[in-house]
C-alpha cells in the first residue's frame, strides 16, 4: 500500500492558508524586526492577512465549495459563512488588541510575558518600552484554527482545530499588563480545564471510531443509520464525550466554570475575542457535528443537550444578577447567550442553522464592542480598568458618548426590538418552536424568561450609568484611530443587524445547507 497524495483545492482553503501565512510571517517579524517598528508591522500584517483572506473567501472560495484535503475539510455554506464571520470579528478584535494608548506597545499586554509579576525584570522591560508583539501571530493562529473548526469534516481535524484555537488563547489570556497574577491564574485554569475537555473530546472520538470504524462525519452518520450493532454501547458515550469537549468551548453549564475566571483575568480585548470568535467557531463545530455526524440518533442524546441548554440559560442569567464585576457579569451573560444559541441548534432544521449563525455573528459584534468599551474605562489614579460595576456609576454624565454606546450594547444583549439582539433571538427561537417539538417550545419558554432576568441585569447597569452619582474617579481613555474604527464598525454593524437584518439573514439562510 503506497502513499497517496491527497488532492487539494487550494482556492477553497486559501483563506485559511493566508491567515496561517500571516501568522508565520508575524513570528519572523518578532524575531528579526527592530523593536521600535514591530508593533506597526505586526498590526499591518494581521490586518492585511485577515482582509486578504476575507477578500479571497468572498471572491474565490465561495465558488469552490466541496470537500477537499482528502475529505478532512469541507467548504460549504455554513463553513463559509462562519469563516467569514470569524474573519470579520477577528479583524475587529485584532484592531482593538493593538490599542496602545500612551504605552510603547499594545497597552493591554505585559511588556514581557516571561517576567515574574512584580519582578525587576518586568520593571526593566516596562521602562525600556518593550511590547509583546507576539500577540498578533498568536491571534492569527487562533483565528486560523477557528476557521478550520466549522469546516472540519472529521473528528480528528476537528480536534486539531480545537487545539489550534485553544493553545494561543491560553497564552493570550496570561499576558495582561495589569493584575498579572489574576491573568496568569486565569491562563493556567483555562489550560488545565481546556486540556481536561480536550481529553473528553479525544476519548469520545476514539469511542465513535470504535463504533463506526471511521472518523468522517459522513461515514459515522451512515453507520448510525445502518444500525451497526456490534459495538453499540460505544456510540452514546462517544457522542456525549465529544459534545462535552465542544460545549466546554462555548461555556455551557456545567462546563462553564472557567468562563468567569478567564474572562475576568484575560486582557479585555482578548476576552472580547474569545467571547465572540471562540463561541462562534465552536458553535460552527457543534452544528457540523450534530447536523452532519450524529443527527441520525438524535433521539438518544437530544434530551441531554436540552438539559444542558436549559441549565445554561438558567444558571447564566441567574448568576449574572449577583455579579459585581463588569467582566464577570458579561461572562455570565455570555453563558446565558450560549444557552440561547443552543436552543436554536436543537431545532434540527435549516432555519435553526441560519438562526444560530446569525446569532453568533450578532452577539460577537456586540460583545467585541462591549469589551472594547470596558478596555477604555479606566481608574483615574492607576490606569487599571475600572471593572467594578460600582465604578460605572454616573458614567452617563461624565462620558455621555461612551455610556450611550455601552447602553445601546446592553440593550442589544437584552434583545430589545430594533437591536440585533432581538433579531438574533427571534432567528434562533423561531425554528426551535417550529421544528424543535415540545422540547423546543419548553426551551424557548425558559429562554424568554431568562431573557427577562438578564434584561434586569442590563437595565440596572444602564440605571447605574445614568441615574447614580459617580465619584469622578473614573475616566474613559480616548482610543486611537484604528481602535475607533473597529469600535465604530462593530457598533454600526450591530445597529444595522437590528434595524435592517434582511440581507444578512438572507445570506445566512442561503448558507445553511451542509455538504455531507
Amino acid at each position: 500500500m503506497g502513499f497517496q497524495a491527497v488532492s487539494v483545492n487550494y482556492w477553497a482553503v486559501m483563506p485559511i492558508l493566508i491567515v496561517f501565512g500571516g501568522a508565520l510571517l508575524g513570528v519572523l517579524v518578532e524575531a528579526f524586526a527592530a523593536r521600535s517598528v514591530r508593533h506597526s508591522i505586526q498590526l499591518s500584517i494581521s490586518v492585511v492577512a485577515l482582509v486578504a483572506a476575507l477578500v479571497v473567501l468572498v471572491m474565490k472560495s465561495r465558488h469552490d465549495q466541496g470537500t477537499t484535503l482528502g475529505g478532512a475539510v469541507v467548504i460549504d455554506g455554513p463553513a463559509l459563512f462562519q469563516m467569514g464571520s470569524v474573519l470579520v470579528l477577528g479583524l475587529l478584535s485584532v484592531m482593538l488588541m493593538a490599542e496602545k494608548f500612551s504605552s510603547a506597545g499594545a497597552d493591554a499586554f505585559t511588556p514581557m510575558g516571561a517576567a515574574v509579576p512584580g519582578s525587576d525584570l518586568e520593571r526593566t522591560a516596562t521602562n525600556a518600552g518593550w511590547g509583546t508583539g507576539e500577540v498578533f501571530p498568536l491571534a492569527l493562529f487562533s483565528i486560523a484554527g477557528m476557521m478550520i473548526f466549522p469546516a472540519a469534516n472529521d473528528l480528528l481535524t476537528m480536534f486539531v482545530a480545537l487545539e489550534v484555537v485553544s493553545l494561543p488563547l491560553y497564552i493570550l489570556t496570561g499576558l495582561a499588563r495589569r493584575k498579572r497574577l489574576l491573568s496568569q491564574e486565569a491562563a493556567l485554569k483555562y489550560f488545565l480545564l481546556g486540556s481536561f475537555s480536550s481529553a473528553f473530546f479525544l476519548f469520545g472520538s476514539a469511542l465513535i471510531y470504535g463504533y463506526a470504524g471511521s472518523i468522517h462525519f459522513g461515514e459515522v452518520s451512515q453507520a448510525i443509520s445502518a444500525g451497526q450493532t456490534q459495538f453499540d454501547g460505544l456510540l452514546l458515550p462517544g457522542i456525549v464525550f465529544v459534545l462535552v469537549g465542544l460545549l466546554f468551548k462555548v461555556g455551557a453549564v456545567p462546563f462553564h466554570a472557567w468562563t468567569p475566571d478567564v474572562y475576568q483575568g484575560a486582557p479585555s480585548a482578548v476576552t472580547g475575542f474569545m467571547a465572540a470568535c471562540t463561541k462562534l467557531a465552536a458553535f460552527g463545530a457543534i452544528l457540523r457535528l450534530v447536523y452532519v455526524g450524529i443527527e441520525a440518533n438524535r433521539l438518544d442524546w437530544r434530551l441531554g443537550v436540552m438539559a444542558v441548554a436549559a441549565l445554561t440559560m438558567v444558571v447564566g442569567s441567574v448568576l449574572s444578577v449577583a455579579q459585581t464585576d463588569m467582566k464577570r457579569l458579561l461572562a455570565y451573560s455570555s453563558i446565558a447567550h450560549a444557552g440561547f444559541i443552543l436552543t436554536g441548534v436543537l431545532a434540527f432544521d435549516k432555519a435553526g442553522v441560519s438562526g444560530v449563525m446569525f446569532y453568533a455573528l450578532a452577539y460577537g459584534l456586540a460583545t467585541i464592542a462591549a469589551f472594547g468599551i470596558i478596555a477604555m474605562v479606566r481608574q483615574a489614579d492607576d490606569g487599571a480598568e475600572a471593572t467594578s460595576v460600582r465604578q460605572w456609576d454616573g458614567l452617563g454624565k461624565s462620558h455621555p458618548v461612551v455610556a450611550g454606546i455601552f447602553a445601546l450594547l446592553l440593550l442589544t444583549f437584552a434583545g430589545i426590538p430594533l437591536t440585533s439582539g432581538f433579531t438574533a433571538k427571534f432567528a434562533a427561537f423561531a425554528p426551535a418552536v417550529a421544528t424543535g417539538g415540545k422540547g423546543g417550545v419548553l426551551l424557548v419558554i425558559i429562554g424568554v424568561l431568562c431573557s427577562a432576568i438578564t434584561a434586569y441585569v442590563y437595565v440596572k447597569l444602564i440605571v447605574r450609568m445614568y441615574f447614580e452619582e459617580g465619584k469622578g474617579d473614573v475616566v474613559a481613555w480616548t482610543p486611537s484611530v484604528v481602535a475607533t474604527i473597529a469600535l465604530a464598525a462593530a457598533v454600526i454593524a450591530s445597529i444595522g443587524l437590528g434595524v435592517m437584518p434582511g440581507p444578512v439573514l438572507d445570506l445566512a439562510g442561503q448558507a445553511s445547507q451542509f455538504i455531507r
Binding site: 488545565l192 481536561f196 466554570a257 441531554g304 438539559a307 444542558v308 441567574v318 448568576l319
Partner: protein, 645 residues
C-alpha cells in the same frame, strides 16, 4: 414611480364635478397660517393676527367661488369629489384622502369661513391688549382648518382627523388663559368628556369597516341599503355617542358650560356657531345609515328632545351671561338633533336652523363679549342692567339676535325653528305628540330665558359694581362691525332662505326629496300656539326682570332653580356615578397590581437574587472543583440518558 403615476392618474379620473378650484386650498390656507404663526414665534407678532384674518377671508373667498361654480350646475350634478392621494394603502384595503364638495358641505364651508372670518376681525379688537394675541390667532386658524377638514372630508377617517383637530383647537382655546387653574381644568374637562364621544366615533368607524369593508361616504352610503338593521343600529348609536360628545348633547353635555372659560370670540365661533354643530353634521351626513336603523334614529330624536328641555331649564337659572348663552346653545342644538332624528322630513330644517343659529348665536356671543369689554370683564348679569343707553350698537345687534332666537316673525329663527316644531308634529302614534309638545314648550321656555338675559343686561336699573367702578362704553368698530353684519344675518337670512324654499331645495341632492306630511295639528294652530307661548315667556321675563327690581345676589330659589343652577346636578352625577366608581376601580386594579402582580414578580426577583447568591458560592476559584463540576455534569448526563434509553 409607476405607483405614483398610477395614483395621479386615478386622482385625475376621480376628479369630477362642477368645482374646478382645488378644494384642499380651503384647508391649506388657514393651516399654513397656523403653522406659520406657531413656528414663527415672536417674529410674527406684528403681522400674524392680520395675516391669520386675511387667510381666513381668503378661504371664504375660495368657498364663494366653489359655491358659485356648484350653483352653476344642475341640481343633481352638484357634487364635486377631488381625490388628493392614496392615503392608506393597506393590501386589499385602500383609502384615498379626498375633498367632497356638495350642497351640505358647502353650506358648512360658508358658515365656517364667513362667521369665522368675522370673528377673526372681532378678535383683532377684543384681543388687542392680550400679550399672547399671536398664539390666539394661530389657534383660530388651526380651528378653521380642522373644521373645514371635518366638513370637506370624503371619508369617515378623514372626517375623524378634522374631528380631533377641532377638539384640539377647542381644548387649546378654552385653556387659552391656562395660567388660571380653573380655566385649565375647564379645558381638560372639555377634552376628557369629548374623549367619550371620540371613542364612539372611532368604534363607529371600526364598525363601518367591519360592515362595509370601507369607510368612505360613497361606498358606505351605497351599501347601507343592503346592510343588516342590527349592524346599522350599532353604527348609528355609536355615531350618536360621537355626536353627543361634540355637540354637548345629553348625557355628554357637561363640558359646554365650563368651556365658556375661553375668550368670548372662541365661545362664539367654536362653542356656539360651528364646532358644536359637528354632531348634527355627522348625523345628517350619515342619514343613509340612520334611515336603515329606525331605532338609532329614534334615539337621536330622544336625545335631542331631552337636551333641548335640559338646556332650556338650565338657561333659566344661570346668572353668568356666557353660561346662560351656552345653555341656550345646548338647547338649540337639541332642536337640531331632534330635527335630524325625525328623518328625511327634518334634515333640511336641522341644517337650516344650524345656519341661522350660527348667525344669531354668534352675534349674541359677540354682543356678550362687547358687554364684558365695556364692563371690566364682568359676566354676572345681576351686576348689569340699563346698558342699552350706553351701548347702543351692542343693544340693537343683540336685540336682533334675541328676536331671532325667540322666533319672532320675520326674523331668522322664526323660519327655521318653527319649521322644526312643525316637523316634530308630523308622524303617527305617540311620537308627534311627545316630540311636538316638547319642541313647542321649549320655544316658550327659550323665550323666557333669552328675554330674561336680554332684560337683565340691557334694561331695568343699573346694578353695576362700585369696585371696580364701571364705566360702560361702546366697543371699537372692529368689534361692532362684525356684530352688525351678524345682526343683519339674524334678521334677514331666514326671510331670504326660508319662505322661498331656496335652502331646502339646495340641500335636496344630499338629503333627498321628501314630500311634506301633514302635522297632527293644523299648521296655523301650531304657529299661533308657538307665538303665544313665546309672547307669554317674554312677557313673564319682562315682569320679573325688566319691570321689577333684580336683586344683586341670587335669591335662594326653589328646588328646581337650585338644581338648574347646578346644571341639574350633571357634574355631581358624573362625579358619583362615573368618576368615583371609575377611580375606585382604578385604585383597586392599582392595588392588585402593586400587591398581587408586583408582589409575585418581586417575589420571583428575590428568589432569583437569593439563588444567585447561593449559586455563586460554587464558583470558588479552584480549578479542581471546576473540573469536578464538569465530571459530575458528564456523569449526570450519562445517568440521565441511560435511564431514559
Amino acid at each position: 414611480m409607476s405607483s405614483l403615476a398610477l395614483q395621479v392618474a386615478q386622482a385625475a379620473a376621480a376628479e369630477s364635478g362642477p368645482v374646478t378650484l382645488p378644494g384642499w386650498l380651503l384647508v391649506a390656507l388657514p393651516l399654513a397660517g397656523a403653522v406659520l404663526l406657531l413656528l414663527g414665534g415672536r417674529k410674527t407678532d406684528s403681522f400674524g393676527p392680520g395675516l391669520a384674518t386675511g387667510l381666513s377671508w381668503a378661504s371664504f373667498g375660495l368657498g364663494v367661488v366653489a359655491l358659485i361654480q356648484t350653483l352653476g350646475a344642475a341640481a343633481d350634478a352638484r357634487f364635486t369629489h377631488q381625490v388628493l392621494w392614496n392615503w392608506i394603502p393597506a393590501g386589499s384595503f385602500q383609502l384615498n384622502a379626498g375633498v367632497l364638495m356638495d350642497p351640505l358641505s358647502l353650506s358648512f364651508v360658508m358658515l365656517i369661513t364667513f362667521v369665522g372670518s368675522l370673528i377673526h376681525v372681532y378678535s383683532l379688537g377684543y384681543m388687542s391688549q392680550d400679550p399672547d394675541k399671536r398664539r390666539f390667532f394661530a389657534y383660530l386658524n388651526l380651528f378653521i382648518a380642522a373644521m373645514l377638514t371635518l366638513v370637506l372630508a370624503d371619508s369617515y377617517v378623514l372626517l375623524f382627523v378634522g374631528w380631533e383637530g377641532v377638539g384640539l383647537a377647542s381644548y387649546l382655546l378654552i385653556g387659552f388663559w391656562y395660567k388660571n387653574p380653573t380655566y385649565a381644568t375647564a379645558a381638560n374637562k372639555a377634552f376628557i368628556v369629548n374623549r367619550v364621544g371620540d371613542m364612539g366615533l372611532s368604534l363607529a368607524i371600526a364598525a363601518l369597516f367591519a360592515t362595509f369593508g370601507a369607510v368612505d361616504f360613497a361606498t358606505v352610503n351605497a351599501g347601507a341599503e343592503h346592510a343588516s338593521t342590527t349592524a346599522l343600529t350599532i353604527i348609528g348609536l355609536l355615531l350618536l355617542v360621537a355626536a353627543c360628545g361634540k355637540s354637548a348633547q345629553f348625557p355628554l353635555q357637561s363640558w359646554l358650560g365650563d368651556a365658556m372659560a375661553g375668550p368670548t370670540p372662541v365661545s362664539a365661533l367654536i362653542h356656539a356657531a360651528t364646532m358644536v354643530t359637528a354632531g348634527v353634521y355627522l348625523v345628517v351626513r350619515s342619514h343613509h345609515i340612520f334611515e336603515g336603523a329606525p331605532n338609532a334614529q329614534l334615539a337621536v330624536a330622544i336625545v335631542g328632545a331631552i337636551t333641548l328641555t335640559y338646556g332650556a331649564i338650565v338657561g333659566c337659572a344661570k346668572d353668568d351671561i356666557k353660561k346662560a348663552l351656552a345653555a341656550s346653545t345646548m338647547s338649540q342644538i337639541g332642536y337640531m338633533m331632534l330635527a335630524a332624528g325625525l328623518g328625511p322630513v327634518g334634515y333640511a330644517f336641522a341644517i337650516f336652523h344650524l345656519i341661522t343659529h350660527g348667525f344669531f348665536k354668534a352675534g349674541m356671543f359677540l354682543g356678550a363679549g362687547s358687554v364684558m369689554h365695556g364692563m371690566n370683564d364682568q359676566v354676572d348679569m345681576r351686576r348689569f342692567g340699563d346698558l342699552a343707553k350706553y351701548m347702543k350698537i351692542t343693544w340693537i345687534t343683540f336685540g336682533l339676535g334675541w328676536l331671532a332666537i325667540l322666533g319672532v316673525p320675520p326674523f331668522s329663527g322664526f323660519w327655521s325653528k318653527d319649521k322644526i316644531i312643525e316637523a316634530a308634529f308630523i308622524g303617527e302614534g305617540w311620537r308627534p305628540w311627545v316630540f311636538g309638545t316638547t319642541a313647542l314648550v321649549g320655544a316658550g321656555v327659550t323665550a323666557f330665558y333669552m328675554s330674561r338675559l336680554f332684560f337683565m343686561t340691557f334694561h331695568g336699573k343699573a346694578r353695576w359694581t362700585d369696585e371696580p367702578k364701571q364705566h360702560p362704553h361702546e366697543s371699537p368698530l372692529t368689534m361692532t362691525v362684525p356684530m352688525m353684519i351678524l345682526a343683519v344675518g339674524s334678521a334677514a337670512l331666514g326671510l331670504i332662505l326660508g319662505p322661498t324654499n331656496i335652502f331646502t331645495t339646495w340641500l335636496e341632492p344630499v338629503t333627498g326629496h321628501h314630500e311634506h306630511g301633514e302635522p297632527v295639528l293644523p299648521i296655523p294652530i301650531l304657529m299661533i300656539a308657538t307665538l303665544a307661548l313665546v309672547a307669554a315667556g317674554a312677557f313673564l321675563a319682562w315682569i320679573r326682570y325688566g319691570a321689577a327690581d333684580v336683586p344683586t345676589t341670587a335669591p335662594a330659589g326653589n328646588a328646581l332653580t337650585r338644581a338648574a343652577r347646578q346644571d341639574l346636578y350633571q357634574d355631581d352625577f358624573n362625579e358619583w356615578v362615573l368618576r368615583r366608581p371609575g377611580a375606585a376601580l382604578t385604585e383597586s386594579v392599582e392595588w392588585t397590581d402593586h400587591h398581587g402582580v408586583d408582589g409575585a414578580f418581586e417575589g420571583l426577583a428575590t428568589l432569583t437574587r437569593e439563588s444567585a447568591d447561593r449559586l455563586r458560592t460554587i464558583q470558588n476559584g479552584f480549578a479542581r472543583s471546576y473540573a469536578l463540576t464538569m465530571l459530575a455534569g458528564v456523569v449526570a448526563i450519562f445517568g440521565a440518558l441511560w435511564v431514559i434509553n
